[in-house]
């Protein structure tokens, strides 16, 4: 499947992997894929938001959740980004999203899978799937 990815879409997956490592996650999930996808200006324009917005929302969600269990991030002082393993596996949700992206390309009779197909697949995430949680926040459906 990956050989059919456009360069931008490959970059999105590479960036997703790096972001998962930097955040200290053990798997590459749909939130990381969304972050990677939005580096493509075309995808960012289509959604009306960029990769930095994804980071900001993720950081905010972490900070609030930690505060709820009594952990104040500020107590830790400056922290380096995490260093992930070279190869991180995909979460089940991320695998589904990539399969759906392929499905969208096939439906369009497109020979290649682009960030547009991946973004459509990520927008189909629902419930507690990370991409859905981030997109809900982006669209202000759940307050700030």
């Amino acid at each position: 499947m990956f050989e059919r990815f456009t360069r931008q879409c490959r970059d999105a997956v590479t960036l997703a992997l790096a972001e998962a490592g930097r955040r200290g996650d053990r798997k590459v999930g749909t939130g990381h894929l969304l972050y990677g996808t939005l580096h493509d200006p075309e995808a960012a324009r289509a959604l009306g938001a960029g990769a930095e917005d994804v980071r900001r929302i993720e950081d905010r969600l972490d900070r609030d959740a930690l505060a709820a269990v009594g952990v104040d991030l500020q107590d830790f002082g400056p922290l380096a980004p995490a260093v992930g393993a070279l190869h991180l596996p995909l979460t089940p949700g991320a695998k589904t999203a990539l399969k759906r992206a392929l499905g969208h390309a096939v439906q369009e009779k497109s020979r290649t899978i682009g960030t547009r197909h991946l973004l459509s697949a990520l927008r189909e995430c629902a419930g507690t799937e990370p991409a859905a949680v981030i997109l809900d926040r982006l669209h202000g459906r759940e307050g700030s």
């Binding site: 955040r23 200290g24 996650d25 053990r26 969600l61 972490d62 609030d64 959740a65 930690l66 709820a68 269990v69 952990v71 991030l73 830790f76 400056p78 922290l79 380096a80 980004p81 995490a82 260093v83 992930g84 393993a85 507690t128």
Partner: protein
């Protein structure tokens, strides 16, 4: 902080926030580790010493942080 069974006590945190806190703590632990592995290297610790302190092998800690070591 003791280890208690909260099963009979009502939690005032919703599951979404509580589960997010669990994954956020893992991420935080990774960042604390990265920060202090770099500090230990600057202080002249060997990979052997760092691995022993973290309860992992020298090889696994070097594989994880060895590459980053060049630019810290």
């Amino acid at each position: 902080m003791g280890i208690e069974d909260p099963a009979n006590e009502p939690l005032d945190i919703d599951p979404e926030t509580g589960l997010r806190a669990a994954t956020a703590l893992r991420r935080l632990a990774e960042r604390v580790e990265a920060t202090h592995v770099a500090a230990a290297r600057r202080a002249g610790w060997s990979w052997e010493q760092i691995g022993a302190a973290l309860g992992v092998t020298r090889q696994s800690i070097h594989a994880k942080y060895g590459k980053a070591d060049h630019h810290v």
